[in-house]
């Protein structure tokens, strides 16, 4: 450690240039990743603030904290901000942006300027969304169901729709960049079966972004056209079909769940082998399961519509297909577990998040089996059961993975270590707070409490109070990492190049990496997760 302190700081992507212009005009994927990190964190706290207001309103059965219309805007904007401005860009645009070129041994993404463009598109969309929220907001639910959104809501539907439309292009461009980069920019020797599974997960995600996002874009354009020009597309009084909207919306928005969860699975697949000192169990099956999730994910959208008025036979087919997509998810969970078998396991912060991910994702996945069962879905759809289920996947899963990844790669990104004990504490708080917030909602849902209710019958209060209590714990768990990450940038221990003794090319360059990632282009002659030949880090060995 002493040597690290004495050595003058090497030139790296952070200190190579200074000044606001060097950031706003950068084409370095690592700097763009940090731009994204700042902006999605900003939106995360906005979305989280809405969530806290929602939970406070639901503390009592009566609608007393805010007006009904305000409440409707709160859950709408919570959903839109969290889905389109936090979860979808989160891992791909921050960790993916930073790591995809590093992991495959490239200097940058294939299209560095397009990468910067996609951040600017995100910012334009974000500013529009902020403007929409500050000047009245929107109350359609993040789902924009018609004809409410096109003919009845008197809020800023068009502006919100356009904001999401633009953010969609940011997402498409990121996906495009990744696909091309992974195909064309791999270092010599980095064959497809040597790719880290994080890359496979991002490859699968990018395919969904490329193929799915244009559909939501078109759908939102149709909503805007019907609302502004009164064309009859979805509104039955003008000859439209409201179910057509739901089909189009879910054709993207179901796969969008995989945009959120696949990268997170990729993160966990890096963390577990590292802290078990073992190669991943069943590399090919884990890689293949990412691709099959992406493919099958496109074939299950109407399971959101079992009570919407679709035909009996359509419902049967979509229920059956939904079970097919559950198989690759199950495969992943089994392989992660098997990877730990006969390992040499340590419990560092990223590993705790990975444990949390596996636990919460398993619960989210299992409750998905309930929802795909037609007879049960009729009772629990549009209740808090669904709310709990998708938060287990999207927050318990995707967000846990994101935080795990942030802790795992923070030394590489910032060149500093965060305080390990605080990290573990935060992971524990997040896990407990999350379960306290969302587990009661499963029970609430089965009892029959519908979602999006501003006021509710008094017998639901106890469970709602538990949930609100959990949300405050969760908030502490989320604030803590932000505080110590910021702290570590100045006061944290200087990070070694490979603090975890991890495999992967990103650990073979300096922390933080130089602007062009590697001093000399790497040549790969080994397989991914080659832990047999990588020594465990010093600290853990002596502490063992």
């Amino acid at each position: 450690m002493a040597t690290a302190a004495i050595t003058a700081e090497r030139e790296n992507y952070l200190n190579q240039e200074y000044g606001i212009k060097s950031w706003l005009l950068t084409v370095d994927h690592k700097r763009i990743a940090l731009l994204y990190l700042l902006s999605i964190t900003f939106f995360f706290f906005i979305g989280g603030f809405f969530a806290l207001l929602i939970r406070l309103e639901l503390l009592t059965p009566a609608g007393d904290l805010v007006q009904a219309d305000t409440y409707n805007k709160l859950f709408t904007m919570h959903g839109q901000v969290m889905v389109f401005f936090f979860l979808i860009p989160s891992i791909p645009a921050v960790l993916g942006n930073f790591l995809v070129p590093l992991m495959i041994g490239a200097k940058d993404l294939a299209f560095p300027r397009i990468n910067l463009l996609s951040w600017y598109l995100y910012i334009i969309a974000g500013v529009l969304m902020l403007h929409c929220m500050l000047t009245g907001g929107v109350d359609t639910g993040w789902t924009f169901y018609t004809p409410f959104s096109t003919a009845f809501s008197n809020t800023k539907v068009i502006e919100a729709g356009l904001a999401i439309f633009i953010s969609g292009f940011s997402s498409i461009l990121t996906g495009l960049n990744f696909v091309v980069t992974i195909h064309r920019m791999r270092a010599p020797g980095m064959t497809w079966d040597r790719l880290p599974l994080f890359i496979w997960a991002h490859y699968a995600t990018s395919i969904i972004q490329l193929l799915g996002t244009p559909v939501i874009a078109v759908t939102l354009v149709l909503v805007v056209l019907e609302r502004a020009l009164h064309l009859g597309i979805f509104d039955p009084t003008r000859g439209g079909d409201p179910l057509l909207f739901q089909h189009l919306f879910w054709f993207y928005s179901h796969p969008a769940v995989y945009i959120m969860i696949l990268p997170s699975m990729g993160v966990v697949t890096e963390i577990i082998p590292c802290f078990s000192r073992k190669r991943i169990f069943g590399y090919k099956f884990v890689a293949l399961s990412s691709i099959s999730i992406a493919v099958f994910g496109f074939l299950v959208w109407a399971h959101h519509m079992f009570v919407a008025g679709i035909s009996l036979y359509a419902a049967l087919i979509f229920s059956a297909l939904s079970y097919l997509v559950a198989v690759p998810s199950a495969i992943k969970v089994f392989n992660w577990t098997a990877t730990m078998y006969k390992g040499s396991i340590t419990f560092s912060t990223p590993m705790l998040y990975a444990f949390g991910f596996v636990g919460l994702f398993t619960m989210g996945g299992l409750t998905g089996l309930f929802l795909a069962a037609l007879g049960i879905d009729v009772h629990v759809t549009d209740t808090y059961f669904v709310v709990a289920h998708f938060h287990y996947i999207m927050v318990g899963g995707a967000l846990m993975g994101y935080l795990g990844g942030m802790h795992f790669w923070w030394p590489k990104i910032s060149g500093r270590m965060y305080p390990e004990s605080l990290g573990r504490l935060a992971a524990l708080i997040v896990f407990l707070g999350f379960n306290l917030t969302f587990f009661p909602q499963f029970i609430l849902g089965y009892l029959g409490m519908p979602r999006r209710y501003w006021q509710y019958p008094p017998e639901f209060q106890v469970l709602n109070v538990l949930s609100t209590a959990g949300a405050t714990v969760l908030a502490v768990g989320y604030l803590l990492p932000m505080v110590y990450f910021l702290w570590s940038m100045r006061y944290g221990k200087v990070a070694p190049d490979n603090p975890w003794g991890a495999s992967g090319l990103e650990w073979m360059t300096t922390s933080p990496p130089p602007t062009f990632n590697f001093d000399k282009p790497p040549v790969v002659t080994w397989e991914a997760y080659d832990y047999e030949h990588i020594p465990a880090p010093q600290e853990a060995r002596s502490g063992g």
């Binding site: 073992k278 919407a308 079970y323 199950a330 089996l369 009729v378 509710y456 019958p457």
Partner: protein, 332 residues
């Protein structure tokens, strides 16, 4: 009326029992699966925690294991799928002879009318132990008719009918919720379903000021709008004879054969040109915007009432619109 802190919803319909059975099976299965996985993770985490001088053993994987843990879950999934589908099939198929209630949803109110003519708002009285079929439509946005105690939910769409049914098994008062977000007072669009003993129900039914059944008010509207000049009960009318039409296959001008259900009758009143019966000219005027949802419901109830009753089937006319494939009268 309601518990202060329930952990399980009241079970008040035949469907509720079958939904709960599958739900309990799934809870047990999930508990088993999560306990198995979490135990394995814990055991591995403790047993294989890092120790000095003990290195990890590198294992590449096992195709046999991968196949096993893909096929076994798949098999279990098929069981869940079939079980869930069977329940759904029953939920989506209203039994014949059910009492019919027409539901019109609007922001933010439920308007209900029994086929006997009785009207209610945000309250539905039904008799214990009889099948009740709901024919639902919306005046504005999408709503959803949800009675947790019956485990039934059905979205209510503008511009078409959807149906649901239940068989109450327990007298009492139960929540009726709107479950599809519908605007400002979505959470205020709630009501009650009151299940009464049959005798009490008859009392209740005769107590209200209903002026005749829905079919009879439908008949009045049918006369007022002049429908009867063309839709005559013989074969001489310029429009198809409607007697015995409901539930029958209809041959259309474009060659399709469709079943005359509530949605077909509705569409044929509002936009008659959409499905023209074979052998007839598209001369009927459009009634879109000229009749209210309630009038439309009454008209549909009237057309349905033109079917011969199951007991007197032999005496009723078994007329199929001319040009249609002659069809034997099915047992109603």
């Amino acid at each position: 009326m309601f518990d202060t802190f329930p952990l399980w919803p009241t079970r008040a319909s035949t469907t509720a029992g079958s939904v709960d059975a599958l739900f309990i099976f799934l809870v047990a299965l999930s508990a088993l699966m999560s306990v198995a996985i979490f135990t394995m993770i814990t055991v591995f985490a403790v047993r294989y925690r890092r120790r000095r001088g003990v290195a990890a053993e590198q294992i590449e994987g096992s195709t046999a294991l991968e196949v096993t843990w893909s096929v076994i879950p798949l098999f279990i999934f098929v069981v869940i799928f079939v079980w869930g589908a069977l329940i759904y099939f029953k939920e989506r198929t209203p039994p014949r002879g059910a009492t019919e209630v027409y539901v019109v949803a609007k922001q933010w109110m439920w308007k209900l009318q029994h086929e006997e003519g009785q009207r209610e708002i945000n309250q539905l009285h039904v008799p214990l132990g009889r099948d009740v079929k709901l024919i639902l439509t919306s005046q504005d946005v999408i709503h959803s008719f949800y009675v947790p105690a019956f485990r039934i939910k059905q979205d209510v769409l503008p511009g078409r009918y959807t149906t649901a049914w239940f068989h109450p098994t327990r007298a009492g008062t139960y929540h009726l919720f709107c479950a599809e977000y519908c605007g400002s007072q979505h959470s205020g669009m709630i009501g009650q379903v009151v299940v009464l003993e049959p005798a009490q129900y008859e009392n209740w039914l005769s107590g209200g000021g209903a002026s005749g059944s829905m079919a009879s008010s439908g008949q009045n509207i049918f006369q007022q709008l002049g429908c009867s000049t063309c839709h005559r009960s013989d074969t001489q009318g310029r429009g198809p004879n409607l007697v015995g039409l409901f539930g029958k296959p209809v041959q259309l001008e474009d060659g399709r054969v469709i079943t005359a259900d509530e949605n077909y009758i509705r569409e044929s009143i509002l936009t008659p040109g959409a499905k023209v019966v074979s052998g007839f000219k598209p001369i009927m005027p459009v009634f879109q915007g000229l009749v209210s949802e309630e009038q439309l419901n009454a008209l549909v109830a009237y057309v349905k009432s033109l079917n011969p009753s199951p007991s007197g089937a032999a005496g009723g006319p078994t007329v199929v619109p001319s040009g249609a494939k002659p069809q034997e009268t099915k047992v109603q």
